[in-house]
Amino acid sequence: MNKPLMYLGQGLAYAMFAAVLGYFSTSPKYTHLPADSALVKLSFTHAGQRKGACRERTDEEMAKLPTNMRIRKDCPRERSNVTVELEMDGKQLYHVVLPPTGLSKDGVASLYRRLPVPAGTHRFVARLKDKEGGDFDFVRDETVLLTAGRVMVIDFKADAPGAGGFMFRN
């Protein structure tokens, strides 16, 4: 091969190299969330209530304990599951039962869940229960307008302002 032809070939190889870099560094485009969708993120950490009731230790029991551990109240450590539901426009969007964390099941339960939904006005009902048996302790019912691409965070704090513990951040 003669010199000019060799340089041409090299130029071609470098052009190919640059083209591959240039193209795949931004293309093809990736559509993470369809254009007409919004995103609901249901996320919180919350400790379920203790499974059993506390009781008082008797004097005899107290005497048996080392001095530094003589506490009158004896509480079971294990916590209840936390049950959560999210309903959108009358249909269940998500339902989960969260066990407490930790080896002795006394830790907080936590949740993070992304739920893509169509953009538009929706009525959401969020419910949470943090004890054994019975009905949902916390319920929040809210109608919101979710524009396309919007993220709505639904957080939960038992002592949140207003009723229902849930907070809709849109």
């Binding site: 091969m1 032809l5 060799m6 340089y7 041409l8 070939g9 090299q10 071609l12 190889a13 470098y14 052009a15 190299f17 640059a18 591959v20 870099l21 240039g22 795949f24 560094s25 931004t26 293309s27 093809p28 485009k29 990736y30 559509t31 993470h32 969330l33 369809p34 254009a35 969708s37 919004a38 995103l39 993120k41 996320s43 950490t45 964390t101 830790g107 907080v108 936590s110 949740l111 993070y112 992304r114 691409g149 919007r150 993220v151 965070v153 957080d155 951040r169």
Partner: protein
Amino acid sequence: MGKAHDLHHKMSNYLRKFWQRPENLFNAPFGQALNPWYHLGALTFFLFWVVLVSGVYLYIFYRTGVREAYQTVEDLTHEQWYAGGVMRSVHRYASDAIVLTMSLHMLRNFASGRFHSYRWFSWVTGVLLIWLVYASGINGYWLVWDRLSQFLAVATAEWFDWLPLFSQPLARNFLAPGDVSDRFIMLLSFAHITIPLVLLLFMWIHTKRMNHAETTPPLPLVVGTLLALLVLSLIKPAVSHEPADLTLAPNVLNLDWFYLALYPLLYASSPGAVWALVGGITLLLLAIPWVFKPRAAIPVAEVHLDNCNGCERCFRDCPYSAIVMQPRQDGRPYALQPVVDPNLCASCGICVGACPSSMPFRSSDFVSGMELPHQELAALRTETDRALAALQGDARVMVFGCDCAYDVRELKSEGVGALSFPCIGMLPPAFVDYALRDARADGVLVTGCREGDCQYRLGIRWTEQRIAREREPHLRKRVPLERIECCWAGAHDADLARSGLAALRARIKQMPRETIPQDGAQEDVPEPEDKKMGQSL
């Protein structure tokens, strides 16, 4: 040789043939010595320096703050597009190129069977490098704190949350704008210095076991690569997405597929599936050196102290640093003796070619200081004698070849004899002299793998330098270089080898036979005794 061994041999042969096809295309425009496929490891090293230098420039202007980060990168891109903008683009494209050259480097080492036995260390540290390269690159994309960074932060958190490691979901750190602090951006930028430095450390470890590791590509490739990166940076400057906004979900993203290809998979499948994929690929890669290992272990190089004067040539030439020099044990008056580490030895025989005792002119029971037990030099000399005796015609050629390259036995004919070494680097220059002495052959053809593509890395380089009398042991001065042709032809390059042979034969036909020194022209033949050898060093 068992069936399993045959199968392994066949498979690796096919693989190599398949891989060499696209590679050979580049030999015409670049020439063998500059074929970029033969310098992928060195190119990756070079690209790392490019990324480092451009990164330092960007760092000077970068401010760590949720808003400042984005703004300073915007200013670099637009206010000083001619400097900061170009640097940013070069930084990005060189990082992308690292993924490209590293992947090809890995595939190429796999396809050419360079990963098992003593090479396991390079392979396994290489797998670690993949992780570090990806960690560095993905981390870099967070620093801009644009919509893509936001997507990566959230997606990475969601991905890691699948692991049962954290008491609270990491993704909760990216729920609302207030969740991300200036300190977080500072942490990211700190990581973007630390991780690449760890990468550099492991790049050093990766090449540590190799003698003369090629960590700088040839200058023309350096220039070409830099130019390509610069031109690309001017044609298509790297730009940011919109600034990050955690109240909005990123929808359409210009993804860098070199680094981020797995992210869409998180949502098309699940974080667990991506962990399985990534973990599976990593484990598979780590297992390769042991899964695809040839059954039969090759005997390693052996030292024969009786014929060793401790000259260190074998130590200097070994491509895998498998030889160490230790204090002499046998009472002879030399300071050092070589010791071969069987775990590192590739059985290439390059050390045999380096040893001054590899001297076929010596008496009948000839043993060198270094020998491959399954390819002893005395036996190879007998074969050479037999081949030389059978040569006929007026352009008689002795071919010395290499088991890894073109099979020189296919060149045999009435006027052509052939002998193959495990690596052409095992050929002692004295064997060339030996073949031409007494006019037993009119020319010598030396072949081996493609230039720059030696299976044992340094065999070709040392052979060329020994023949050119630039590296010990020198080819004796009395040997006329016109009677020697070096032709580097890979396993499937029959045409190259044949044309090399034809060129040599045409040339020697023009030369009168008497120019070859006759027996007795021994002016510079050394005595085989140790004393003489010691002096000549």
